[in-house]
Every structure is written in structure tokens, then in C-alpha cells.
């Protein structure tokens, strides 16, 4: 991110577009591509504009899209949980469908920003913003969610894992955008937890981790996705363990190995890479133990 210039907190001039259909968005992005930015909730975009960390020539406001649902909905034969481009955080937070179908996401929503930001910010927008400190991309990746990517050339579907190229960076082209996020239905036996460390209430995470624990026969299969540590969210599985392993030292060892081998934390003023590794280990152990000992989510 370029250093913002001093004395600047008003947005730069831009041409404003308010299309009424997704098709029109495709056309506008086809025309302006990298010179355009999409505005949905604006809770990440507008601060960056105000500080002139970016100066897009065109801003395309999705707020005028007609007929878009404002809440997450079940869709399709497999009961996929489906989020349109105008579903705000507050709607996810209060959604019964999410509570039942993706309770981990419900839990994560408690950690996302403050109410005046949740009231405007959108779920799809947060997924697309690719902030490595955000809980939501990690949850998407952990739960095996997908995004639908579209442009004037057509529509394709990407696994969440394939979406992220780096901090604030997606793998999709400049004329493409994400118009849907889909989460698969959770299994009844899945258990989960999310742990994060912030300096103040509801700040972006210095380090965090979401965990799912699934019973497979006699053993427990644990998957983790970290945030605030590393450039992009990735899903990691630990080798299968018994529940005794999880309450005992085996889990600590497995997590330490994973963190040492697979995470590449960064330094900033709140945490050095070494502290982030330490936090990642401790929070992961906490999360897995909590998940493993929690009530099953959907029974």
C-alpha cells in the first residue's frame, strides 16, 4: 500500500456510476477495468479513498442494483448458503440461516468491526477486499466456500482457496468481479471455534484462527485457517488425532510443527513475526480444544 500523503482526508475526484443490473456492472468493468473500483458497503474503500491510498477514475456503486436480496439465502438442491452482493454484515450477523448452516460464520461476525460499520459493510465486499487480518476470508477458505466470478466474458466459479493472490490482492482479472459467495452446508458432526487476538475490542486481528473438528470414525480431523498472520488465508489439516491427543500435548506439537513449517508471519508495530508465531500456536491450540470440547453445532 503506498504511503498516504499528509494533509489529505477528502476523496479524490472520480466518475460515479450507479448501474441497475449485474450485467451493466459487467459492461462498466469491461470498459474501465483497472481504472474502476466497486463500491458496495464502502467501509474499506471509502477510508482508502479519503486518504488517497488509491485514486480510481471510476467508482461503480452497486447500491443501485435492483432486486438483490438483502439477506443470505438457501439455494439449490444441496442447500448452499448463498450471499448476494448487497448482503450487509448486520444481515449475516442476524441471519438464522447462517446460524444454522454456518455457525462458525455467525460466531466470526461478532468479531467483525463495530455496529456502525457492520450496518453498511457487505459480506461479499469483505471477501473481495482480501484483508489478511479479516476473519471472513479465513472462514470462507476453512469452510470450503466458493465465489462466483463474472465479467462481460462470462461467469466462472472459484474455490475460496484459489481466490487470494496476496494482501488486498485477488487472482481474478481487472474486468472481473465477485457477485456471489457460497458456503456449503455444514455437517452435523462438525464442531468449530474461532479465536483471535486484537489490541482493542473488535479491531482487526493481530492474529487469529478458525478451526473445525470433524469426527471420522474413532479419530478427529482438524482443519485450521489463520488470519492476521501470512499474506493469504489457507486451509491446513492436522493429521488425525484422538480426543486424548487433543487434550494432551500431541496437539501442541502438531500445531507448533504446522506454524513453523507453513506460516510466514510479518512484522508490524503490534507484533513481530516471532510473537505472531507464538500467538498463532497458542490461539490454534485454544481454538481446537474449544472446538473439540464444544457441543456439536447443528444437532
Amino acid at each position: 500500500m503506498p504511503a498516504p500523503k499528509d494533509a489529505i482526508v477528502k476523496p479524490p475526484p472520480f466518475t460515479y456510476h450507479r448501474p441497475a443490473t449485474r450485467f451493466e456492472v459487467d459492461e462498466l468493468l469491461g470498459e474501465y477495468g483497472a481504472d474502476a473500483k466497486l463500491l458496495a458497503g464502502g467501509q474499506s474503500l471509502v477510508p482508502m479513498l479519503n486518504m488517497r491510498q488509491m485514486s480510481p477514475a471510476h467508482v461503480i456503486d452497486l447500491g443501485g442494483l435492483v432486486g438483490e436480496p438483502s439477506v443470505p439465502v438457501w439455494r439449490g438442491a444441496e442447500s448452499t448458503l448463498w450471499f448476494g452482493p448487497l448482503v450487509r454484515h448486520v444481515a449475516v450477523e442476524k441471519s438464522r440461516a447462517v446460524l444454522e448452516g454456518a455457525p462458525l460464520l455467525s460466531k466470526a461476525m461478532d468479531m467483525v468491526a463495530h455496529p456502525p460499520v457492520r450496518s453498511r459493510g457487505t459480506f461479499v465486499g469483505a471477501i473481495a477486499h482480501a484483508d489478511p487480518a479479516s476473519e471472513l476470508p479465513a472462514v470462507l477458505v476453512l469452510l470450503g466456500g466458493q465465489v462466483r466470478v463474472r465479467s462481460h466474458n462470462g461467469i466462472r466459479t472459484l474455490a475460496g482457496q484459489e481466490l487470494y493472490a496476496g494482501p488486498f490482492e485477488l487472482t481474478i482479472a481487472a474486468d472481473e468481479w465477485i457477485d456471489e459467495v457460497r458456503l456449503p452446508p455444514g455437517r452435523r458432526s462438525d464442531r468449530f471455534a474461532i479465536e483471535e487476538f486484537t489490541r482493542r475490542d473488535a479491531d482487526f486481528a493481530v492474529c487469529g484462527v478458525a478451526a473445525t473438528v470433524r469426527e471420522v470414525g474413532d479419530v478427529l480431523v482438524t482443519a485450521l485457517a489463520f488470519f492476521g498472520v501470512g499474506a493469504t488465508p489457507r486451509r491446513f489439516e492436522l493429521s488425525a488425532m484422538s480426543s486424548d491427543d487433543i487434550t494432551g500435548g500431541q496437539l501442541d506439537l502438531a500445531v507448533r510443527e504446522l506454524v513453523a513449517a507453513r506460516l510466514e508471519p510479518h512484522d508490524d508495530i503490534h507484533a513481530t513475526a516471532a510473537f505472531r508465531r507464538h500467538l498463532a500456536e497458542r490461539l490454534a491450540v485454544r481454538a481446537v480444544r474449544r472446538a473439540a470440547t464444544s457441543e456439536r453445532s447443528t444437532e
Binding site: 498516504p4 499528509d6 494533509a7 479491531d203 503490534h270 507464538h278
Partner: protein, 772 residues
Amino acid sequence: MTTSFVGSSIQRREDDRLLRGEGTFVDDIAMDNTLHAAFVRSEAAHALITGIDVTRALEIDGVVAVLTYDDLAGTPLAAPLRVSQPHPAIRHARTPYPLARDEVHHVGQPIAMVVARDRYIAEDAAAVVHVDYQHLPVAVDLVGAARGEDGPAHSDMDGNVYASLSEHVGDVDAVLAKAEHVFEYDLRYERAAGTPLEGRGLLATFDELGGRMRLWDSTQAPMMVCHGLAPLLGLEPEQIEVISPDVGGGFGTKAFQLYPEEALVPWAARWLGAPLKWIEDRKEAFVGSNQLRSQVTHVKVAVDGEGHLLALDVRYLHDNGAFCQFGILVPSVTASELSGQYRIPNLRFSFDAVYTNTTQCSPYRGSGQPYATFVVERMMDWVARDLGIDRAEIRRRNFIPPQGMPYDTGLSFPHGNRSVYDSGQYPAQFETLLEAIGYDGFAAEKAAAAAEGRRIGLGLTCYVDVGGTGPYESTKVTVLPDGSVSVVAATSDTGQGHETMYSQLVADQLGVPMERVRVTTGDSRRTQYGFGTWGSRTAAVGGSSAVQAAATVATKAKAIAARLLEVDAGDLELADGAVRVKGAAHVAVPLTELVIPARFGRTSGGESSPGLTAASYWSPSAMIFSSGAHGVVVEIDPETYDLNILRYVIAHDCGKVINPMLVRGQVLGGFAHGIADAFYERRHYDNAGQLLNQNLMGYLVPFASEIPQVEVRHMESSSPVSIHGVKGAGEAGSVPVPTAIASAIEDALGFPIDAMPQSPLTLFELAQRHGR
């Protein structure tokens, strides 16, 4: 009976308008044809400016002017701003040019001023002014800068030390040489800033016909701004109307003379012939508004076997940022309190004040006092540890007893009086604290927690807090023809509730209902001589002047009424808006009927001057010190090193209390700043002098969720210095908090905490270093 407002928690008169959104902050004032300023600020911490290209900025539609140093040539603004607090110890005074001439000394220093039709356009233009820099060596680290290893911060200096000062009482060296125990400790404190929520702001308009400049300024010190501005504008102070309207917090940041913008905006408004507004944005506030807190200290202390303090030698470095407009005020304030609450017969301090290529420093809530408390009180904990004496007991053995008051520390206070404590009950206050925090039972509590794998610790600190600093403050009290009372005070309110406070004081003196008192503060049209609001001084010094002025008015009223009623003035009292005979309330003259006789100036009747009016320039004859003790129990998460405050107790003594609700508000507000200073707020500079956290997401001002509940115990040791026994309350809440937290974290984790602020990261690193 006369009513008494003083001592009551009267609701604030300021609140109604503020709650309705009807306050008037600078940016709320709209004038037709107002132009808007934005500044191009240095992106380099230390560099020569080799070129400024304003061409593209001037091409933007709506841009009126782009000013650089060259445009100021031949004006008083082409010279560096003044040192407003000079001191003979300053060997190398360096202050900024309003717009940088050829060398910039910190990121954020103004280089060019853009004026445009609106702020959006002004920022568009500021963004395309191109500045070429030739980078120079940068000094950021205080120790490196002091040793001359980094920098120099000013290319015309050899090193970075601009002033040195030392003072002593007794024979420190002799005692250190033969004492039973001598201990040495090192301590460090890092940079933070006041960070008021409303940034600085200015709206200037010049009346050509009347020859008057009017400046609305979000400042704590309008009279100082007025007098500082006069020579720059070539006007008399009385031609400059500086008005401090509602001000959205100050905390010292806005008690300054002068910021570059404060000179440039009024000057340019006159030059352009149009009202000109500049509202500091948050980005500018982080690099352009003053900061404070970095000091590095080495302590040598001599004690006997029982822990009695025999001699103390304190050497420290003070980081003043790039300039020294406030001289050496802050490190001198530190020096004045190095005796803490203790008898220390032999005492010496010496400090070097140092330039670095960072934003300039000036007082922020507490000024130099948090360092003094940190040094003295951490030392007390460590001496206790090193001698194997209980932390509370060593303090008991060294307290200045109440019968020792007033107590002369032997040290000076900057710009005036000696550092003499006027009153206080330190031992009793401390016992109150120990009882409330549960000191005696804590060892068992800690052991029980440890058995559960929890790390808890108890922290203690005592402190003194100077309030009521001079030189003087002015208030004018007048009974108006309708019988209402006007109070004009030179101080400026930034949220303390001065309108309420002055009303309480004056209403009591004149026996009128509070709603009959109107209060004007911070308006140089109404008064010229006075200072402003900082250093916990307004209630004590401004308050004393208000009481004195009102008492003079009351004396005049009685003298006139005595003639009219043909009674002795000594038999009269003021109550219910009238002067009446004590014990015979029906024999009375309403104040309204005294206004005309007073105006006709029957001075031969004994009144000193015409009018039911009096001005007081009350000056404290000695220093005024509040005091207190803080205790805290914290828990540190052994995995994340996060801080959880389990309980916090403040025992607090600020003398007589005018309004308990307001005092509590000051104490709790200060407390939150203290928590911030202990664990959340720190201005992080990199080695190139770039501020890494330039916004409120990276600079962690605590929310309600980070600030715990506090138990406050009040005591009242009336000040013999102020007229009404009042001391200061504005800073005491914040001064000792980091020290108490440091003491508690040390107790919880078992390794020394010798630097503030701490954070989960620093505690993690300390724990690693100590093998925990």
C-alpha cells in the same frame, strides 16, 4: 442564610447545547466567501528542499493561491517563530519557519499552503505540489541523538543537545560515597500525544476598515495566541480578536504559542482579503500537532539499611522533537517533582534536552510529571525489593508527614516559584488506598491465582501533581444593569465545565442564583491579560481570581448599600440578589439599585473605582500540589500477554472541591489517558523518522471496552495558597497510572518493568529474555 453552590455536584450549564448538537466548534462557523487552506507537508524527516513545483496545483480550477517560503519574503513570517518560554540554559534555540525555508526537520512540517474554494479542491492541489528533497542524516533515537551518533537533526549544529540544566540540594556526592546501600536503575518512557478528537482549527477574517483581525481558534490559550500573533501581523494585541469557541478537547496539545498554521492562516486571510478556514485533519494531527513523553533516565539512590532515602541523583535525556518553542518546560517540570511524596535531604538532577527529527514536543496532560512519578515510584519498588523490605513499608518510612507541610523540596519550578508542597496527608491517603485495594490479603490472593495458572499482580504508586501554576490569571466580574452578573475569564474551556465552575464560585460570593451569572471565557475581545487552560490551573488560579474579583464587587456593593441603608457595611451580606442586613432580611437593596450609584462613581464613599465591577489578576504566591495514591490489580494472560485490570483504586486529594461531579469527571478522564499511556498509545517512528501509525486504527486510543471501572476515594487537604483552598484536578488522574500498571505487571510476571508503555508484544519479548 446565603446559599452555597460550591461543593455541590451541580449539572453542567454547557451540556444543553452540546447535547442538542448546537455547540459551536470552529468548523461549525460559516462565513460567506470563505476560502479553505490545506498544507503541503514534508514527507522527509530531515532534508534540504531543492525545489518546489506548484505549477500543476495552480492549474486546478478553484485554486486561489499556493504559498511557499519565498512568497513570505519581507514579511514577519519569513523569520522563525519565537521561543515562547525562553530560558538561559537554552544554548541552541531552533524553531520552525512558518513555511519551511530550505531545511525540513520532521515529517509533517509545513512547506506550502494551498488556498482554494473548498477543502476538496485544496487537497487536490496539495497532492500535486511537487517537492524535491536532498535527504540529510536523521536523528530519531533519543540516546543516539544525545550522543551525537545520529543526526544532527539541524545541519547547523554539531550535536543535538540544545539545553542542559542541573540543580542540587545538599551534598549528593558525599552521601552517595559513604551510604550503606547505593542502587542504580535505568528507566525509559516513549512518545505519545494528546490527540484531542477535534483537531486544531482556525477561521480568520480581517476587517480592513476597522483594522481588526478576528481569529476563531480551537486553542487552550487564546490570550497567548493573541499576543504571539501581534508582532507577526504588525497589529496591537487589542486589534486582534482571538476567540476560542467550543473546543473539542485539548489536553495540552492546543496550549501552544504559536503553531505555524496559527501564524499563516490569519496572515493569508488579510493578504487575500477573504475569510480563510483551516481545519486540521486527522492525518495532519498525527504529524503536525505536538507530541510528548520520551525520556531516558539513570537513577542513583543512597539508602540506609532501613530503607530511608538519603540521596538521589537523577540524570535524564529529554526528547523535544525537532524544535524547542516551549524551551525546556517539560524536563524542568519533571525535575521539580523528583522528591515525590518523600523526604530526600540530598537531591540532584541534571538533564540534557535533545532535538530529534520528529514532531515537536510540548506539554500533554501531566507535562513532565508522569516521568517524575515513574522514576521515583519505580525506584521505591526496586529499593524495597533490593533491601527485602515490603513495598508499602518503605513508603511509610519515607513519607513527608502532614506536620512537615509546607515542605520545601529544595528544587525550583520553572519560571517562578520554588517547588514547595503546600499541604497534603500522604500517609493517611496511602493507608486508605492499601485498605481499599486489599493490600494485606493480596499475597494469598496471588498464590491462589497462581495455583490456577493465573498470573496476577498488584501495583502501587504515590504521586504529587502540581496545579495552580502562575504567573497569574485574570477574571473580571461585573453586576450588569439588569442585576445579572457577567464573569469574563481569560482561561479557555476545552470540556472541563468552566462556565459551571465560575458560576458556582461567583454566585456564592454575590448571593445570586447561578442562572443569573453569565460566563465568557477565552475571548481576547473581552480581556487581554491572562494565559489559558493547562497544568490543572484553572480552578485554582482562575478560580481564585474569580473569587477575588467577586469579593471586591461584593465589598463595593456593601459600601454603597451601607450608605443607602445608613447601616454599617460590616452588618451587611449579599443574598437573593440583594444586599441586606444580617438577621433582618427585609432591610435590603437589590443589586439592580446599586448599579447606577456605582456607575456614577461615588469613589469618595470608599469604593476604589467606579462601577459594580472588578478585575483580578490573582497570582499564586507559592506552588500548589495535589497528591494521591493509585493501586491496581492486574491479570496478564500467560499466552497472549494481554492486560486485564481486575480492580483499580484511586485515592485522590485535590484540596477543596467546587463541584464533585466535575472533579470525578476530570479524574476518570485523566485515568483513561493514563491507561492509554500504559498499554495502548505509542507513536511508533521508524529509523527514517516516518511515523508508522498515522491514524486512529494504528494509534490505539482506548474505547470503553478497554477502560475498567475505578473506585475513587477523595480526601480534602485545603490549599493554603489559593484563596478558596482549591488545588488542581485536571492531570492527576493520568500522571500516576502508567507507573501503577508497571508496578502491577512486574508483580505479576516477576521481571522488572522499567519502560512505558508496555504492550503484549513488549511483554512477550521481555518474558523471552527472562526465560519465562
